[in-house]
Symmetry: C2
Subunit: 176 residues, 2 copies
């Protein structure tokens, strides 16, 4: 399974591609950051995010895109930019028929460190170890994007079983 | 000046096209709502909003797109959908090189009713009068989209003068 993780943001949008299956060593295929200038107009920034995401999709052809689920509990200005950048990432994937999965920050932290309240350094250290890298990817947004992809690969089997169970239950309900 | 107003939303995205200049009677060229099913996946809903906005841009070729500026002061779930739908609308416009203008709800209300705290009925009544319609456009999102377009046509001359003054000041600063 090849997953593009996206840590959405307007100024820095982290992107990372990981390949593998749950229970086996994972491979990093690429990591980077899509940046847009803070002084550009909002519409132009969204176009730049779209072009960046499209390049990553073109180059790596992921089977799934995992995006951080955005909450509005944080700073108002930041959360709007995050929501808008995540919308562009989801749009790019859905337009190509690539499934989009959302994971919360605490789900991602718990998946890679064992604790939903781990700090950035801990996430960076575990991403480095799990992908057998020489050093933690910089900036933190890039490491977070890889953590999202790892989280998705590990959670996907459980999520699929859950969806199948729900679908089975629903179909039984209809035939009853 | 021909303006497409967009009242962003995932379930109902209001759209309205108004043509005219400040100080002259305005003409409505079209009004409607782009809807997406609440039970569809988020990525698919964003694709549907994109397709809807693209159709309106294709049909009416506006010179400017006016979008409601989103704040995160309201309901958390709603504001995320609103931010995401507004991102798609801004992206569609910017991709075509069409300028995007943002106006707050109170700016729009003040522009068409004289009060920034006017209710929906008052906005609907003034939109009906200003565009010489037989009845207020339904649903309210459609009326709000027309109000946004009217607000932009009326505010644009002042905004342009302000931008020119700022640009002049900046260029003087550089040559000094």
């Amino acid at each position: 399974m090849r997953v593009l993780g996206v840590d959405p943001g307007l100024t820095r949008c982290g992107v990372g591609v990981v390949e593998g299956v749950a229970g086996r060593p994972l491979t990093m295929l690429g990591v980077g950051v899509v940046r847009t200038p803070a002084d550009a107009e909002l519409g132009q920034r969204l176009v730049a995010v779209e072009q960046g995401i499209e390049q990553w999709l073109d180059e790596h052809r992921p089977e799934c895109v995992a995006v951080e689920r955005v909450f509005s509990q944080h700073n108002v200005r930041t959360v709007m930019g995050t929501a808008q950048a995540s919308a562009v990432a989801m749009l790019c994937a859905a337009r190509r028929g690539i499934p989009v999965a959302l994971h919360t920050p605490s789900e991602v932290k718990a998946a890679v460190t064992g604790s939903g309240r781990a700090d950035k350094a801990q996430v960076g250290a575990m991403v480095t170890r799990l992908l057998r890298l020489d050093a933690p990817p910089k900036p933190a947004d890039a490491a977070d994007a890889l953590a999202l992809a790892i989280c998705h690969i590990w959670r996907a089997p459980a999520q699929n079983r859950l969806q199948q169970a729900v679908a089975l239950h629903a179909s039984k309900g209809r035939t009853a």
